[in-house]
Amino acid sequence: MFHFENLTLVQFKNYASATFSLNERIIGICGNNGVGKTNLLDALHYLCFTKSYFTRDTSNIRQGNQGFRIEGHVNLFDEKEKVACILRETGKKEFLLKDEPYTRFSKHIGRYPCVMIAPDDIQLIIGIPDERRKFIDTILSQLSSEYLQNLIIYTKILQQRNSCLRSITETNNRDFSLLDVLDEQLMIPGSYIFEKRKIFMVGFLPLAKQLYEDIARQPENISLFYNSELMDLSYPELLKMNRAKDLVAMRTTGGVHRDDLELNFNNLPFKQVASQGQRKSLLFALKLAEMEILKNEKKFTPVLMLDDVFEKLDEERIGNLLERVCLLNDGQVFITDTNAIRLEEKLIKLKRPYQMINLNND
């Protein structure tokens, strides 16, 4: 229903110029360290999200070149469409669907739902709350452009409010009338975001917990919950309560930009007590739950990209995972590995047609 048919890269990261035709639903990508496996996945990520999974646009221009181009043909419900992302020499980015440039890139988000699992994603489990908020926002933004729009507006008003707090404090001006206006403006998208996250968590959290237990295959006491000050306070109350503190800090100390997804293991923070394998299992559970939700809401399966996921997993877990993402799942899947033989063996076992892309020059 949704898959990439080919990909052309020009001056993108380590690729001077390359075209890949993508013929199967299951695609293995192999090659030594540094050949460009992750870069290839990131190019696909560009076409889904208009940006890199990892870095800012200019770092993706091939060294010594100016500008890059990523182009792909997508099959969406048997309709073929061309999508392209161009970074011009001037640094200006263009994003085109069927040769029509988007005026707002945010309009593209959600058209090509996509889930990436990369080694650094473990930050989702052990990193700061921003990582988990970004994860949740990425899901909700793919589901609703209205959510993304509210998020963009919220962020802009938040910056204005923080500047306003700073200017009040620095000039010792006791006129709060502009701050009052910004508070009211902030509450509108803020309350919207909170409500949407709250509703989302009701379905998402039990699903992620269930998937974790499936992967672990033994009872483990984990609990996941949505942590927001807005659970107990309304937006006006929260801003009112924090105002004095905000003025001292010169920034907004409470609101949906401080929400977190709390992950516990035996009622202690997951990152403190869980083993590396358990962390990784939880990461997969969260990402597979994302997959599941996107699929149910969109009524078609997102593209899944698994970058180097075999590291640190035992054979049994690898088998389980592949079965789940390749057999129980009907969407396009990209899997990278440095070891061509190991990858091929695993794909053969699935007894499904697959394609291998070997990036080594031999």
Binding site: C164, S177, L178, V181
Partner: protein
């Protein structure tokens, strides 16, 4: 670019400082002037410098004026009790071109944006509130950018004048205006002036 005359080079450099004018266009303009009669070019230069040194800003609405009060404020045929609040002088010109508006203006000089260091004090907001208090203003029409900063400015001013019972409206915001008002075609602009919305309903629908 190599010039054999410093006089020529200076003139080209000055033209090239204007918005939208590159070196090549600047050279073309200067060479054109060079072909004209000395007196004509003299006249051209005088008009420009006179414009800058003698132009005034209306004490009432901050629009450009040839005297203390602009021709719009001074015109007794225009409804002095209706004020259209705009960001800049270009917006006044665009709305005037529609010939559909018979009230007066108030030029704020921008919109509130703390991030850019623009607070209410940097704009002509106080003078607007004074006008509302002193004159018998019946309606204020906001024609500001459809942005968060435009919204902030509307809400802020609205709060300040709330004690006075006057009609507060905004022109429908589907069209590009504010900084982009000059690009909106006259028909669309005229229509949106006609179909203005009360501010409350606009707030509810915008996000």
């Amino acid at each position: 670019m190599q010039f054999s005359s410093a006089l020529l080079e200076n003139a080209v450099n000055e033209f090239a400082r204007l918005p939208g004018i590159g070196k090549k266009t600047a050279l073309r303009l200067v060479l054109h002037l060079l072909k004209q009669e000395t007196a004509d070019v003299q006249h051209f230069g005088e008009i420009i410098s006179k414009m800058r040194s003698e132009i005034k800003f209306c004490h009432r609405c901050a629009n450009v004026a040839d005297g203390d009060i602009c021709s719009i404020c001074a015109n007794s045929m225009r409804k002095q009790e209706v004020i259209c609040v705009v960001e800049n002088i270009r917006d006044v010109i665009a709305i005037e071109s529609t010939q559909q508006f018979n009230g007066t203006y108030h030029v704020l000089g921008g919109v509130i944006s703390p991030l850019d260091g623009i607070g209410p004090d940097q704009l002509k907001i106080e003078s607007l509130i004074n006008r509302v208090q002193k004159d018998q203003v019946q309606e204020i029409i906001f024609a500001l950018s459809p942005t968060i900063q435009g919204d902030t400015t509307i809400f802020y001013i609205q709060k300040k004048i709330q004690p006075h019972t006057i009609r507060i409206t905004t022109i429908s915001r589907g069209i590009a205006f504010g900084g982009e008002l000059e690009y909106a075609d006259e028909m669309t602009l005229a229509r949106s002036l006609q179909n203005r919305l009360p501010v409350e309903s606009y707030v509810a629908n915008s996000h």
